[in-house]
Amino acid sequence: MKNKVLRIIKYLILVIGALVTLIPFFWMLSTSFKTLGEVYQMPPGLLPNNFNFDNYRVVIEKTPMSTYLFNSVLVTTIVTVGTLVTSILAAFAFSRVKFKGRDIIFTILLSTMMVPSELLITPNFVILSKLNLINTLTALYLPWISSMFAIFLLRQYFLGIPEELYYAAKVDGCSDFKYLIKVMVPLTKPALITIALLKIVYSWNEFLWPMIMVSTPDKRTLPVGLAYFMTEAGPNYHLLLAYASIIIVPVIFIYLLLQKYIIQGITRSGIKG
């Protein structure tokens, strides 16, 4: 009896949580089908008077969507893969290679997390211009193919892998690097996918950076398109949210694709004790 009540409460909480989470999205979607006039109606209608796909048409026509999409995919892919590669290597050094000065380097790198990225935009703009990279796609990914956050997260997971496996691999004739690739990487797949997902999300939604680094439409990414729907008199909500609804789709899709690997967890058995 008590169990049953508890279970009901559990579900109730989960459902409420889900509702709270979903309402803004529902709103976003619903608004994306409204006319601007409806947007200004108060109290706002939960659903649009009629589903107005026109907003989507307008949005797609107004922006060079395919170019943006291509650039977004390219930049996001490079950023994600790059981050994974650099963080795997670095996290390995930070968790398994013991050498003098390691902790100092770690601390220094860790401190980079504490600086707001807004602050670095201008200095990086100058650096990239010195590298002759302003207004190139390279500028969009190069500074982001490494992330201390990712290194930190991954190191945390690497530290959790029992030392015995390292020993076993060494005995099996595995070099450090091979151990990393053959044992640590597969074992931390969930963490790696988490990192990938986070990177994809960040990179996909990054607005300010491409806005500033790139000045021609052929090198812009999807979120920059959001700017088209903001005006002096405030945003064109219906269009903006239609656009936002479109660009969120690939990320959700990727998330759904990847999430099952994330939650698998690291299988630990096989290590006794």
Partner: protein
């Protein structure tokens, strides 16, 4: 591969795990490290493997100092006490792993893996992940993984502890056969003296990180160099008496006399510690007996009955054949097999035997 260890030592913070160890292992020999829990067996093994750095001392393979060599370049096989199977790989892939590292071609590798799977009777587990195996099954996979690469040196840390007795005996016989066949120099850690005795060329007894004795099984069983070894060897604890040395024999507390063999004659000592294995206490007539006692209880151990009795607080044991039909509460009379008794110095506990040390 001949192995030579010189002045090896290792400390963990305040714990001395290994203390000035010197060992020589001949090529193709199987040596067992035997000792109580925490005596430093695993630590020594790990230093030989290069997985732990020694604090002091050096290790030689074929007179080649290899301390500086990386583990992966030492060409050793190892079975870990806690298995250390790769959790993300299937059993088969776990076993193929070392071969892959050796860049052996797929077909050959598969063949070898199957051989070893068969050897350990785990063919049908090939596709499972370690988490889906029972404890003993995991251990067998770990052994398979160590054997498959046919290493020059094989290190095994209690490789059989989770196997059932039958399989344990079979496996140890197979390991022994294989080891002799391939003549792999092997170090085998165990806490089971029977196992140690039956499998080893030589046994190294460790206590508290220190070498106690190094010799062949019968030597160690019959001529322990100190009381520790005497107590430690033999699956049934040895019986210990305090006595006084006289020329006629050892005078026990209750004034009974125990005669001793040649090797103990003419010792210059007064107090002495006498040890006798349970099988060397023999049921006899009252007249012949050095001990009479009341049986506390009788355990069945394999084919024999283990009879337990007390003298004061002290517990004593001996083996009786079931046909003797001894029951708890009976009074029994025992004599000592005089050739088999051991005498130890009452302070240093070193053996007083002439033949040794």
């Amino acid at each position: 591969m001949q192995i030579k260890i010189r002045s090896l030592a290792k400390k963990f913070k305040d714990v001395v795990a290994v203390d000035n160890l010197n060992i020589d292992i001949e090529d193709g020999e199987l040596v067992t490290f035997l000792g109580p829990s925490g005596c430093g067996k695993s630590t020594t093994l790990f230093m030989i493997a290069g997985l732990i750095n020694q604090d002091e001392g050096s290790i030689f393979f074929e007179n080649q100092r290899i301390d500086n060599l990386k583990t992966e370049d030492r060409n050793i096989g190892m079975v870990f006490q806690n298995y250390a199977l790769y959790p993300h790989l299937t059993v088969l892939k776990n076993i193929l792993f070392p071969l892959e590292m050796m860049k052996i071609n797929k077909k050959e590798a598969l063949k070898r893996a199957e051989e070893v799977l068969e050897l350990l009777q785990i063919q049908e587990l090939g596709k499972r992940k370690p988490s889906q195996l029972s404890g003993g099954q995991q251990q067998r996979v770990a052994i398979a993984r160590a054997l498959v690469k046919k290493p020059k040196v094989l290190l095994m840390d209690e490789p059989l502890s989770n196997l059932d007795a039958k399989l344990r005996i079979e496996t140890r016989e197979e390991i022994r056969k294989l080891q002799q066949h391939l003549s792999i120099t092997t170090i085998f850690v165990t806490h089971d003296q029977d196992e140690a005795a039956s499998i080893s060329d030589r046994i190294l007894v460790l206590d508290n990180g220190k070498l106690q004795q190094y010799g062949n099984p019968r030597e160690i069983y019959e001529e322990p160099s100190n009381l520790f070894t005497a107590k430690f060897m033999g699956s049934t604890p040895i019986n210990i008496f305090d006595g006084t040395y006289t020329n006629d024999g050892i005078l026990l507390k209750d004034n009974k006399i125990v005669s001793y063999g040649e090797k103990f004659s003419d010792l210059e000592i007064n107090k002495v510690t006498l040890g006798v294995r349970p099988e060397n206490l023999i049921v006899c007539k009252k007249e012949e007996s050095s001990i009479s006692a009341k049986v506390k209880h009788v355990d069945m151990i394999g084919k024999d009955n283990l009879v337990v009795f007390y003298i004061g607080e002290e517990k004593y044991r001996f083996f009786a054949s079931p046909s003797d039909d001894i029951k708890s509460g009976d009074t029994i009379f025992l004599k000592f097999d005089k050739e088999k008794i051991m005498l130890f110095h009452p302070n240093t506990y070193e053996s007083m035997s002439r033949c040794c040390i």
